[in-house]
Amino acid sequence: MTDTSTRSAAQRMSSEELARISMRARRLILQSIHDAGAGHIGGPLSVTDILVTLYFDTMNIRPDEPDWPGRDRCILSKGHSSIALYTVLALRGYFPVAEFATFDQLNSRLQGHPDMSKLPGLDMSTGSLGQGLSPGLGMGLGGRLKGEDFHTWVILGDGEIQEGQIWEAAFVAARYNLANVTAILDANGLPQFGWPHPAGYTRETPYDDPAAKFRAFGWHVVECDGHDHADLQRAFAASKAERSKPTCVVAHTVKGKGVSFMEGNYLWHAQVPADDDLTRAFAELRIEGEAQ
């Protein structure tokens, strides 16, 4: 059987192509939150490039067969960034972009936080922070027991890893040498309200040197620029090449990435953009050579 979903190395997407998709995704994210009048902004913009690289390049998936048993799994443990995941799934062909009109509406498949019982293509329900890594371990252990070689990718927020369950899972994953599981840390340094900085109105990062902490738990750690698609491709490849340990990709990101007045501003965690915010943001999110 030929596997049409797997790209050979030569067919891999260029980082320029990925960057163009990310740009389109960011515009869709902002538009959807604006239209729905609710939702998160900062986290979705920070995780966009990670998701685009996974779904358009790294992961072995079949968008027209979302339940394909051999697929790579992806768990967006920081479920409040659902709109970024929906956007990437839609752009990748899982469902029509037009369905965004239903986001957060009654009976929608696009729930405020990802609900796997509603939308095909979601590998786990999330929204209560700290919970996504553990099901990833179950998938990894189950895949290994079945002799299947799919990979499981779990995206964590750096605020989220304050939850104790993350470290329960980190400990157990290393004990089982779960090399078929990768945790990707969206390390943007800002949670929702955060830790006040003694010096004033700025915020302190919730977790100091997460790479060292995952390493101490027995993980293979790769650090990368979470907005540089080529660097993300490199980090994900390094994670798949590791055969004896689970990998944590610490992706250094910026909360609100792509829109200058949102970047690094914790107030944009879940603020709805007004009409003129949207206009200003779109002016910055231009795709070269395309009419806006």
């Binding site: 019982s117 099901p135 371990l137 179950g138 027991l145 079945k146 899972a169």
Partner: protein
């Protein structure tokens, strides 16, 4: 509802031993069955499975929240995980995990809470679980089962393997007599009428049913004929059976080794209030935590013995006509 004639003087079998052996038997039949343990396998008897089928036994350490999440992941890739720890830790320590990644997506995870109720081998209130039925029963989509003996447990576990809903299985620590005959057929949601009497109805669940049967014998000695309805599935409740016993007797005593709030007593009261208002008494833990003490002393202090059930029945009958009394 089915009618079953209970076995007299059945052999004493520890439910946990039966649980471990059943897992091995079912594991031999179903290659999809995996077992997850929270560092208690030699207490819960998951160790029997660990020995027989080590490749499908997963030690998760003392990390219950992670364990329940791992189980959810297993369920999404075609396995039927049986998770086990003490009921107290399962129902409370890992509750948000159960809610978000098991109950809400409706994943097929079998959650086994051993050492439930107050008889936990002198471990005290941290290990005593008097709210687990209430907790699981109020979670949308979670089947809640409390078998009375080793034989019913075997039927329940087989039925669970043929059902794909998330399920809570309530287990106890100490040996109890087998009351079900070998040909008893357990079905999820089906109550069993163990005794058919017209004066009063005793509705019980779990191992408290053994004491309910004793209470019925004590009442019979005084000329009071009791029905005993054993309700192993607290959710979904066998509403027809509960209403039928209330219709027939006009007075109901519920009995459980669990809080009177939200457990079987609560479920029966809710059911009868809507379908057939009936005078009731509830035997169970009366809104307190337990302590560590010998079993007999515990049953006496927390009023769970057969004598307490019989006394509640007499008191109810003596209380005369009230709501729903027979003409």
């Amino acid at each position: 509802m089915i009618s079953v004639t209970p076995v007299e003087h059945g052999a004493e079998t520890p439910m946990r031993d039966a649980w471990g052996q059943n897992l091995v038997d079912l594991g031999g039949e179903f290659s999809s069955l995996v077992v997850l343990d929270g560092d208690l396998a030699n207490s819960t008897k998951a160790d029997v499975f660990a020995k027989a089928l080590p490749e499908r036994f997963f030690e998760m350490g003392i990390a219950e929240q992670n364990m329940l999440g791992v189980a959810a992941g297993f369920a999404t890739v075609g396995f039927v995980p049986w998770v086990s720890t003490f009921a107290a830790f399962l129902a409370k320590r890992a509750l948000d995990q159960i809610r978000v990644v098991i109950a809400q997506p409706g994943l097929n995870v079998k959650m086994c809470g051993s050492y439930s109720g107050i008889l936990t081998g002198k471990t005290g209130k941290t290990h005593i679980s008097v709210e687990d039925i209430a907790v699981f029963r109020c979670m949308p989509g979670v089947v809640t089962i409390a078998p009375a003996d080793d034989l019913e447990l075997r039927g329940a576990m087989r039925a669970m393997m043929h059902d794909d809903r998330p399920t809570y299985l309530r287990l106890t620590r100490d040996p109890g007599p087998t009351i079900f005959p070998a040909d008893y057929e357990f079905a999820i949601g089906q109550a069993a009428l163990l005794r058919d009497g017209g004066d009063i109805g005793i509705i019980s669940t779990g191992v408290e049913t053994i004491r309910a049967l004793d209470a019925a014998r004590q009442l019979a000695a005084d000329g009071v004929e009791a029905s005993v309805l054993h309700v192993p599935t607290i959710k979904p409740l066998d509403v027809e059976a509960v209403v039928a016993v209330a219709e027939k007797t006009g007075a109901i005593v519920t009995a459980e080794d669990h809080s009177i709030l939200g457990g079987l007593g609560g479920a029966v009261a809710e059911c009868l209030a809507e379908h057939r208002p009936t005078r009731m008494r509830r035997i169970g833990i009366r809104d307190v935590y337990g302590e560590s003490a010998p079993n007999d002393a515990m049953l006496e202090k927390y009023r769970l013995s057969s004598r307490h059930i019989a006394d509640a029945a007499r008191a109810l009958l003596g209380a005369g006509a009230g709501i729903g009394a027979r003409a």
